[in-house]
Subunit: 127 residues, 2 copies
C-alpha cells in the first residue's frame, strides 16, 4: 500500500506561445512568478488563487496543453497500479514518469512532497 | 473588487474515449463516481485523491482535453478582467463563460460555490 495525491497543475506552452500565456496566468491567478533554477523550463506561480501548486512549462515542441501530476510516496508501485488500470508509460524524465491515460491525455507520476498537505489529503491505494 | 479561486479540474473526453477514460480516472484517483442529474454529460468523481473537485465531461465532439474552472463571486467582473489580460470569450453555457487563454487553452469562469474552502482560499482581485 502507498499514498497518492493529485495536486500540481502544469500549463505546457510551446516556444512561440509560452511567454504571453505565462504572463496571462500570472495575472489571472493573481500570482507572483519565479523561474526554476534546476529546471529553468519551468516557472512557478507563487501564491496563486488555486488550491494547490501551479507551474508553467516551456515546451520545445508540440501544442499547448495542461497536465496534472500525481504525487506518490512509492512511484514504482503507483506506475504499476496505473498501468494495470489502463495507462501507458510514455517516458521517464529524472524521477518523473510520464503516462498516457486511455483517453490520450498525458499526466505524470512524481515523488511526493511529504508536507502537511500531503499527509492530510493523500489517499492510500494499492495492495 | 471580487474574489476568485481556481479549483475544479474537468477531464473532457469525446464519445468513443469517454467511458474507458472516466473509469480509469475513477480508479486512478481512488474515487467514487456519480452522474450529474441536471447535467448528465458530467460525472463527478467522489472523494478523489485530489485537493479539489474533479469532473469528467462527455464531449459530443473534439479531442480529449483537460480544463480548469475559475470560480468568481462576480463572474461578469472576472470575465472583463481576464479579457483585459488577454483572454478571448468563446461562448456562454448557462451561467458558465468559456474563455481561451493566449496559449490557446480553453478554461471557464463559473459562479463561486461560497463554501468554507472558497472563503479560506479565494483571492481578492480587480479594482
Amino acid at each position: 500500500m502507498h499514498r497518492i495525491l493529485m495536486r500540481t497543475v502544469v500549463f505546457d506552452f510551446p516556444g512561440e506561445a509560452h511567454d504571453a500565456a505565462r504572463d496571462f496566468w500570472q495575472v489571472a491567478l493573481a500570482a507572483g512568478v519565479r523561474r526554476g533554477t534546476t529546471n529553468p523550463e519551468y516557472h512557478v506561480l507563487e501564491h496563486p488563487a488555486a488550491l494547490g501548486p501551479v507551474l508553467v512549462q516551456h515546451l520545445r515542441e508540440g501544442a499547448s496543453r495542461l497536465h496534472l501530476d500525481i504525487e506518490a510516496d512509492d512511484t514504482g508501485a503507483e506506475v504499476a497500479r496505473l498501468v494495470a488500470a489502463g495507462a501507458v508509460e510514455v517516458e521517464r524524465i529524472e524521477d518523473w514518469i510520464v503516462l498516457r491515460d486511455p483517453g490520450g491525455l498525458l499526466f505524470c507520476v512524481v515523488p511526493a512532497d511529504l508536507d502537511s498537505d500531503f499527509t492530510s489529503f493523500a489517499r492510500t491505494v494499492g495492495t
